[in-house]
Symmetry: C2
Subunit: 111 residues, 2 copies
DNA sequence: TTATTATGATTCATATACAGAGCATTAATA
DNA sequence: TATTAATGCTCTGTATATGAATCATAATAA
């Protein structure tokens, strides 16, 4: 039973989401694609596209990334179009680290 | 009434989301922060953190970005910590473009 | 080894994000 | 100018993501 949720977001989070939405709108406009058309292409409603372009924090990340992909925005600047290499390398690094993290009870430098 | 939804995602979208989740887990592990602790810090449940680290596409973008921020991942490589400049510049560019996009009925180069 | 904590996975109830429709306003073209 | 499509809003019902609880397993530290 999720208690009524009221999240707080850092400024950076809000700005990053806002910027991504703006970039989508910018690219869409430059390409002369209507909101209706892009929404259809992404399989979402026009209303949702509007919220995303405004930087709404509560939208599915998959949909936002899909829109970015459709208008040709490169997330994670990678030379090639595939992120598989990145993923594999991260996976390997992760495999070398301890599987569990032990909580040192001292007040540490976590944050 | 949302009809039962079944989205499709491009490979790039899936990989980008997956990579971001992995990076969060990697940074968290390197810093020896437990999943429980990071979840608490972000104001979310441990289950949700798990889904995000696995690359679940249906999580709120705000929460994912907040986690990334907490473990010090830079989205949109910007020299300074603020994205305000970026936002303003995008805003200005957008202001110069036509407010409405007109749909040319020809089959065009949209995609 | 043993004790204890972290992780992974599942289930359920509910808060909420979504699609769809409608309406008013704006602005591009003819 | 007039026409008409695009955009920006609201609102409502419902599909679904989330918090909480639980259990099993893994793995760290003593």
């Amino acid at each position: 039973m999720p208690k009524s949720i009221n999240r707080t977001y850092s400024r950076y989070t809000r700005e990053a989401t806002r910027l991504l939405g703006q970039m989508i709108k910018l690219k869409r406009t430059k390409r002369k694609i209507t909101a209706k058309d892009l929404a259809e292409r992404a399989g979402i409603s026009r209303g949702l596209l509007q919220r995303i372009e405004k930087g709404d924090l509560k939208c599915e990340i998959g949909v936002v990334f899909e829109l970015a992909t459709l208008v040709d925005i490169k997330l994670f600047d990678a030379d090639n179009s595939s992120l598989t290499g990145h993923i594999n390398r991260t996976e390997e690094t992760l495999a070398l680290l301890p599987k569990h993290v032990r909580n040192t009870k001292e007040v540490d430098d976590e944050f």
